[in-house]
Symmetry: C2
Subunit: 192 residues, 2 copies
């Protein structure tokens, strides 16, 4: 099992050797090629992913056009739960770059929590964290202009700009690629 995930968990709550062993038996580390689709529209999500290296993207297909809503990079969780029921996904999740991911399976996890309540505490806190991230994103959608969204992304996640194509950045901030060029020009003039 990869050290990064165990260290991430241990920052939330201390974990025992037995728990480490159980995590290693439940989750697996896999390399995915750029372009791999982890979840397609209409599929039922049964897995969660923890990004060790690379970049994972969430997007929707609207009238044949991709609308990118999120990027997940180092130490971020890619979770797609649809209420308590098993409702087909409305989004796609794919790898923007070659990505090394920890893969967790929903059913195996439930068994893990029954055996180790401490790991359920960690899972609850992870869910709270993932939810907080989603709330922040939602707030940004509701209140920021595309230019503000661009600036926030540039400040908080400059690494993204090296890794992913411009049209995906444009889609994420909610504009056409042509408008992104104008926004970039305006910002670079301001920064001079």
């Amino acid at each position: 099992m990869n050290d990064k995930l165990l260290k991430y968990f241990a920052r939330i709550l201390p974990i025992s050797d037995m728990e480490v062993q159980a995590i290693a038996e439940t989750m697996s580390v896999k390399m995915f090629k750029k372009g791999s689709i982890l979840l397609a529209e209409g599929q039922i999500s049964t897995e969660a992913y923890f990004v060790l290296e690379g970049c994972v993207r969430q997007y929707f297909l609207v009238d044949g056009e991709e609308k990118t809503t999120n990027f997940f990079t180092d130490e971020q969780w890619v979770v797609s739960v649809n209420s308590f029921g098993l409702i087909p996904s409305t989004c796609f999740i794919d790898c923007c770059t070659d990505s090394l991911l920890v893969v967790g399976n929903r059913n195996k996890e439930e068994d893990l929590y029954r055996r180790f309540p401490n790991l359920e505490s960690i899972s609850r806190k992870v869910m709270e964290n993932v939810f907080a991230g989603q709330q922040e994103l939602m707030a940004s959608y509701a209140t920021d202009t595309p230019e503000q969204r661009y600036m926030k992304l540039l400040e908080s996640r400059p690494d993204l700009f090296r890794r992913i194509p411009q049209y995906q950045i444009a889609s994420y901030i909610g504009v056409k690629p042509e408008s992104l060029s104008r926004i970039r020009k305006r910002i670079s003039q301001k920064l001079k």
Copy 2:
């Protein structure tokens, strides 16, 4: 303790009499007047709410203008977590109508989970459900037109239209009140 909350929990996992007792000691039921502010921008959220009756709203103040992002009604949770740290809220949460709410306190809850791991399982599942709702809302923001958002709200939550003023509906679907009138006119013509 109100029956509605206990029944809600019991639908997720069976709960014992001791657990019911512990929940009753940890959470309280309170009546809030219309207009009560549960959380203001800049405050640190320490409470979660479960709506028994009424309607709670989340909004942001952008250049002096309210941007409504969510309404919470019967059996919905109002949760505002900001990552693991204690980060001041960027949104407001208020009561659109007189509202009867179960109030949970974050610190007391942590103690409850230590004593009753079963309640932590319920809490994790509640968080997953709340997160799923947020994901759905996010998807709608990213992919729907204001008219589509209006139709979805009308179909899924017709009760809201009796309870809250038009300008809040307009803000929620992302248009000015004047545009909402036009959207309503278009839709009523289509439905004829």
